[in-house]
Amino acid sequence: MAAATAFAGGPRWVTGPPYFNTPTYSVVWYTNQPHYFTDSGDLSVYVDHAAADAIVAAAANVWNVPTSSLTLAYGGTLNEHLSGANVYTSSTGLVLPSDAQSGNYLAKQIAVIYDTDGSVTDLLLGSGASDPSGCRQNAVTESVDSIVPAGYIQHALLILNGRCTGPAPEQQLQMQYQLMRAFGRILGLGWSQVNDNVFTGSPAPTYFQALNWPIMHPIDIVCGLYTYQCLPQPFTLRADDLSALASLYSIARNQAQPGQVDTLLRAQEISGTVTFPTGQGMEGVNVVARRWHQYWSVPEAWQSVSSVSGFRFKGANGNPVTGPLASTPSATGSVFALYEGHYDLRRIPMLDGPWQNVILDTEPVNPLYTGQYAVGPYSVNQVAPSGSDAQQVEGVVASYYTLVGKTLATDNASASCDTATDGVETAPAAIDTEGWSTGTLCAYGHAAWFGLGVKANHSLTLEVTAQDEQGFATMAKAMPVIGVWNATDARGSLPSVAAVATAFNGSAIGMTTVTIANAQSRQLRIVIADQRGDGRPDFVYRLRVLSADAVSPANISAVGGEVAITGMGFRPGNVVTVDGVAATVSNWTATSIVATVPSSRALGFSTALPADVAVTDLSTGGTTVITGALNYAAPVPTLNLVTAPSGTIFMGDTAAIPFTVKLIAGNGITPMANQPVTFTAISGAVEFNACGAAACVVMTDVSGSASTTVTALGPGNVSLSATSAYGSQSASFTAVTRIRTVTPVVPVQYIAADTTVFWTPQVSLGDNSAPIAGVRVNWQTISGAMTFFPMQSLADTQGIAETVATTGPLAGGGRATASACAWTTICASFAAEGVGPADWRLEIVSGAGQSVGAADILAPVTLRVTDLAGHAVAGVGVQVHQTVDEWQMPCPDRGRCPVPPIYDAQVSSAVSDTNGLVVIALMQIPGAAEVTNIVAATGEQGFVSLSLQKQP
């Protein structure tokens, strides 16, 4: 393999098993001088044959550079113009003219087809594929149609879509640009990532970053109609392109032919390994080099050359789920562990001067660079590097400098590879009893094997979620696939029970899932592996086995009830259904769920039945079902409560709400008529009014109902029962005694003898059952001189009723009595009693001892008339004498006390009110210093005197 003389970055294919004979070499052309042969016709009405050849030559010559041993040369024309007329299908497949076929590779290595009318493009890619609207993708179609197991490219096709040319020169330049990139591909160059911010736009790229954005970038940026206009010097290879080309077609030291230079003349090569702390190579890390001039204080602000670690290693391999790789040329890469983290910056060009430094950085490959845009060995999905960039400086490197074995270790990368809890195929590990466990697919090719026993008619769901170093779900690490066998299946066979060969089929990020039905009890063997057959310390996975094992109780009445479901993999929020009808879940743990299941009638059945119980995780779609887990008993007639008395009922009252039950047949619909229902009081004394007795049998009517009202006969808690042959219902209430009262506010009113007095008797009403406002009160004389008007009145909101009584004249000691009755029979009596003049007494209630300033006003004086026992006496006349004297100094100790002049004098009278009170309006001279003298007298012995002062 003369062309693959050195390990380098950037090959599109690397040899390896099973297709290639010898591993680890870049796949290159079998000759360093492949020739291209152009179609003999025109490319389009705008681009004739000669112009088309010029476009092809310009695109091809970009790859003829002094530092590479490759010469891509024009070899002549094909024998014909290819079109839909001579490219067609036959019974054996697609037919191309013989000199464009791969079998003609010794004579014509690269066939360039001028597809003038797009018919060939349409024929190969589908009707309408040549449409000019798709020229950014279909202007040039390339195919390397012969790669041999020895690792050589023998033949390639390039199809130029003539419909993508036109009168505008830019259209031809755009085709030349796309053809240049296609030539790079058929020469064996892979896509490359350097200064990727030119593609991502973040951070904003500089001119020099764009100038060093490789021609072999995976995806064009679009800045207008023509993508070649989106980068500077679009027809010039970058340092990274030259490095990649040199990795395939290098010139060893002192081997350059005329017009060539040694690949490493004024350049360096640095290679080595990106590793985990465990020593395992870390694949898929983009290693980039920046140059640092010997006289500059900082390195260049752009990347120059790149190499993806593990580029010679297999990015995709077989696994226990899919079996070994198919033997095709695309099964690229070796499986030697030495190359798992290997990188090779094949040609780092030198700045001026005798030496330079080189800065090495590591970075992830853009996750968009997969599939047809893949950069590096991982094609299906990129893997985020573990840890962060650990920058290194390789100092003072000169022309021809070659460094082998430069180890790069990222900071804080995953450092353990503990798979002790994983089983192996011959001895699978047990599943964690809670159904949740975490493991690591480490090292390369590792698979985790588990054993699990399942019961008949139980289904379960396996969920495997890839996690990153922080435990977050991710699609940028492992790609879990799942295989399931019967434990008795032969080792090494493909899964017989279930297989998910493509990762991430779940509805949650990073999840692969499969649900397995089990008609019979069996032991399963389960494997978790990486889709690519990979395995590394940062391939963490979270396994969940969602499996319901049993339901308890398994037998349940037709009305449903609470059950416990045991199993594994449960979590809060999981939903339980019985034959598809939701149950009410009250508690979750990883191994149990408590739920109240619906009645069989809710399931749509009126007979005994077995029902399926399912636990579902709505967030993942995972589910586990136990078929026939619950046995519902046959439904029976039911006695249902319709209404019942409750709360408090007064003794003697009939409850407003009757005790009513309804008898329904087992189908839940049909009423059962003419069935006896016995109403009894379990405690308390009642009368069932349906039959006027303490116990009562009532026949159900046509609606199935039996009903009676209930009268409470005694106080206390009352418990009732309605019983039929199909069940019973109960009711309860509290019976209380009714208490009503009428109480006089003043039981005895004392009045002056021989006098007629008007006063207002009041009674207070009380009732423990209801509000009392509005209750009518009848006032009635029992004896003596007392009359009322009105004789009926209503209680107010405070429960007070009043009227006006005319009482007297009564003799001293004489009485008149009356009654006030409410609710007809509840009465209170009160009286009026005469008090003779000999028993009247006066007492000062307020206003005595006043001494105020001359400018102030004396307050009135209030007296009360009482009898000898201190009862207030109403209707008593009181004589009041007042004089107003001049205020003077106190009398001297010796000598005569002067008599002050009297300013005024007055005699008046007043009558005591119902409370015996008399209020005296005082004589006084405004603004004058004076003394008011008061003498009050009543009856034969009632007398008080007092003096009040207004001092100067």
Binding site: W13, Y88, T89, T92, G93, L96, L124, L125, G126, G128, A129, S133, G134, Q137, N138, V144, I147, G166, P167, A168, Q171, N197, F199, T200, S202, P203, A204, I221, C223, P232, Q294, W296, S297, P299, E300, A301, A326, T328, P329, S330, A331, T332, N366, L368, G371, Q372, V380, Q391, E434, W436, A473, A501, T502, A508, I509, M511, R571, P572, N574, D617
Partner: protein, 237 residues
């Protein structure tokens, strides 16, 4: 080092389209509007597609005994949602084997895809619109389960439109970094253990084509959009 501020032709869609259209007075090429949103991109691709469906790869069968260039690969899809050109059930895509020369993983069994396909040609061969960009991945978009968390999220599958997002226009204007300081340094100064200046420091542009969570949409949303769009007339294309 050149100080010239090199500015590429700025994106000016209207002007470019107008110029392009004018230049094609007698050409067979119709101007294609430059999409401004991912939805525009999808719409344009849908216009070019004769067959659209959402399905899962059920089987892959190579027929390349006569060599890649004359062979073909059959890919069976179990169609979950037929949107245009087919009625559902199973669909077999027959691709030119030459497309598979360097891409073993064009499709994988079990893979779920939204396929926008050209109609088969007279040869029976076809392929996705816009290369494999017309085979758009479907993936899970819901939160991963954690034992302690309450599982109340509903299942979510999304259409991964990130590659279509890469077809959106962006400016090709580049900024010039300050010229490097000419101050000579000694070797020891260069080799000092100071951190090396990171050249990829960002300005305030935070957009990134590697981090485009916004460029995904629910399957239902995309299917409804596709179903609502009529295929562009052939005369327009």
């Amino acid at each position: 080092m050149a100080k010239t501020l090199w500015i590429f032709r700025c994106l000016c869609a209207a002007l470019a389209v107008a110029q392009f259209a004018a230049s094609l007075g007698c050409a067979q090429v119709a101007p294609v509007p430059i999409p401004q949103t991912v939805e525009d991109v999808l719409h344009q691709m849908a216009d070019q597609a004769d067959i659209i469906f959402l399905g899962e790869v059920a089987a892959i069968r190579p027929h390349e005994d006569g060599g890649l260039a004359s062979g073909f690969i059959e890919i069976d899809f179990r169609v979950d949602r037929a949107i245009r050109g087919i009625s559902g059930g199973t669909y077999t895509l027959r691709e030119w084997a030459g497309l598979w020369s360097g891409n073993a993983g064009r499709y994988r069994t079990g893979e779920r895809l939204l396929m926008l396909l050209h109609a088969p040609s007279v040869s029976g061969l076809s392929s996705p619109v816009g290369g494999l960009d017309g085979a758009i991945p479907i993936r899970g978009g819901g939160a991963a389960p954690v034992l302690a968390n309450t599982a109340t999220l509903s299942s979510t599958t999304v259409v991964d439109l990130r590659w279509l997002g890469a077809r959106l226009p962006q400016s090709a204007s580049f900024k010039i970094n300050p010229i490097l300081p000419p101050t000579p340094l000694t070797l020891s100064q260069q080799m000092a253990t100071k951190s090396v200046a990171d050249p990829i420091t960002s300005e305030d542009d935070t957009s990134s084509r590697a981090s485009v969570s916004a460029q995904q949409a629910s399957v239902d949303t995309v299917v409804k959009l596709l179903a609502s769009w009529k295929k562009a007339a052939d005369g327009v294309r």
